[in-house]
Amino acid sequence: MQAIDFLWLIPALPFAGAALNGALAYRRAPKAAVTAVALGAPLASLLVAAACIGQYLGGGLYPQAVERIGYAWTTGALTVNVAFLLDPLAAVMLFIVTFVGFLIHIYSVGYMGHDEGYARYFAYLNLFMAAMLTLVLGNNYLVMFVGWEGVGLCSYLLIGFYYDQEFPPYAGKKAFIVNRIGDFAFLIGMFALIARFGTLDFTPIFHRLAAQPGLGTAAYAGGLSFAAFVGLCFFIGAMGKSAQIPLYVWLPDAMAGPTPVSALIHAATMVTAGVYMAVRSNVIYQLTPGVSLFVAIIGTATALLAATIGMAQNDIKKVLAYSTVSQLGYMFMAVGVGAYSAALFHVLTHAFFKALLFLGSGSVIHAMGGEQDMQKMGGLKARLPVTYRTFVIGSLALAGIPVFAGFFSKDEILAAAAASGMPLHWLFWGVGWITAGLTAFYMFRAVYLTFDGKFRGSHEQEHHLHESPPVMTVPLVVLAVGAVAAGWVEIPLLRGTDWFHRFLEPVLAVVQGAGSLASAAAGATPRAIGEGELGTGAELVLILLSVGIAVAGIWLARSIYGGAAGAERGLVFEERYPTLHRLLANKWYVDEIYDACVVRPLHGLSWVFYRVVDALVIDGSVRAGAAVTRATGDLGSLTTTGNVRNYALYFFIGVIVLFWWIAR
């Protein structure tokens, strides 16, 4: 037996943990038992994953994908197996999910320690791990979809975790419903694949598409080629899960859940599932330059829009939420320009620094007794030294300062966008560059408002201020190390240091042929996909520019929000542009626009269907049938007098009629 044969254990262990803790939640079990299960299951899963990855890399299996079929799920015309796949792409995601996931489980033990729903929380969190690992390890779209829906369910459950308050259940429902729109498109895409290939397994589909690009570029439906149709459907699915325009609105509201949940689900793992899916389906996207351009446009627009909103939020978690939306936009920009390895690289670094930032904000909120408004914080760096230092590391990584992880991945995306040779590629680079500056500004605005200046909360809060226990700070430190070092797997400028890209190469084989991204781009600059063939000089200029704007953003934030009077100066600064500030603070009124354009018309339509179609037409026809039956019965019952002689008379009349009829 080899470690890799136990691939199925990786999702199965957290699933068992979830079942066990779900049972313990009803039994009022001792907290130690709940903690043991809650941490044991992801730890075991992490160890199995490490063994599998170790054997995959060390056992001579590496460039090939390893598949392990559990059992045939469906048979007949369409065979789908419950089967797991380990290849470089799955290995990267497996590492992120199990490692970051386990750290966040440890942190949760401290953060949720006093919560009544302790066992319930960990049951959901373990269930999330199981679903996410199913998503990442599935060897076909259907198993992936099971995980996809599973993480959506856990997201819903955990956003609405504080179900006794008004807002969290509402936010959970919003997340679920908005995701449903995307899931619908995902399903349509799967149906198209079944109709064309008769299978949902990744390997045969991608092999056939790569060998016969004509299959993908042939016209299919609605004026789209087959690859464009499927790619568009899958991207709409990813829009929901990965919070892209226009379906991003659920993610900021999802912050109603506990903060470690925001870190694990709504920053590090689940929301990157859309990116993972797009990278996994890269063969499809390579065959449709049109949809790829669309993906890049949406990603770029999302990055910019969310970053502008993030600049004017006062809720520390809202800042991070919009930052997450913005960073996901970067990832889709990378997918759109064909830089799939750069997209996944950013998933990796983002998982570390954004989980770190969320957990740091959780530590602050914990210390502040649940307060999330940065205007009431300030001066926390003396009281929360570990949180402060790790938070700054995360912010530097997010801002894209060299040496920190975010710099490497963001720079690679920007370089790839500039080098892509796609239409609008300089616009992508330009918007990405400006967004990088905005990112640095809003992140350090948050840092200065939270940790610098003097304390602006109540005396009670000030008295209560304390650094979090080691169970929370140790994960922060580990993640901070990752937020620095995770970027070192791909170093720009130096030749031969793009280890991450080369590691993923088996999954990202360039599809040649008429109508593919490679040939479309070849018209501009002959190159291979995802490799910025910019030349060292041009790349250096781009790096200097992006570092420059990041430093400028930090400097601007410092000059406005830094120092003892920073918060007051910030308010004065924001007052100076009242219209713009109101627009940004109110998130461009997107929620209100959706409310007016979608929610209210839908309510109106539902009212019509409820009051008119259901109550009048459907209920009416049923009631009419009942009334007719009743009236007929009433009429007939008049003859039922109970008097035997009347019955005899009927009988007699009947006999006479019968005779008349016979004798007629």
Partner: protein
């Protein structure tokens, strides 16, 4: 099969008279069954109707020179006797409960 005459043909009363008598008896029985209130009277009326039918059967039996009709009459009598036995038993049972056999007052079936 040799024909065996039951009655001398020349002395025969025409079958029409029998049928007419049967019709009159049946009509009296019908009117009685529909109008009387006393259960026993209704029974008597029904017996009258049955016997009207018997009379018609026997008349035809002779007219057509076939014994089938007479055999049928025995069945009718047997059934009528059985019916009377069951019916009277029912009326006795009803009388014990209700102290009446006025069928206008026995209308439980209505409910």
């Amino acid at each position: 099969m040799s024909s065996v005459h039951l009655v001398n043909e020349s002395m025969a009363v025409p079958v029409g008279w029998y049928l007419m008598l049967a019709a009159v008896l049946f009509g009296i029985g019908t009117i009685g069954a529909l109008t009387r209130r006393n259960g026993i009277s209704i029974f008597l009326s029904i017996e009258l109707m049955l016997n009207a039918a018997n009379l018609a059967l026997i008349a035809y039996s002779r007219q057509l020179d076939q014994r089938t009709g007479q055999i049928l009459v025995f069945f009718v009598l047997a059934v009528a006797a059985a019916e009377a036995a069951v019916g009277l038993a029912l009326f006795i049972a009803v009388y014990r409960q209700r102290r009446t056999i006025d069928i206008n007052r026995i209308n439980l079936m209505r409910h």
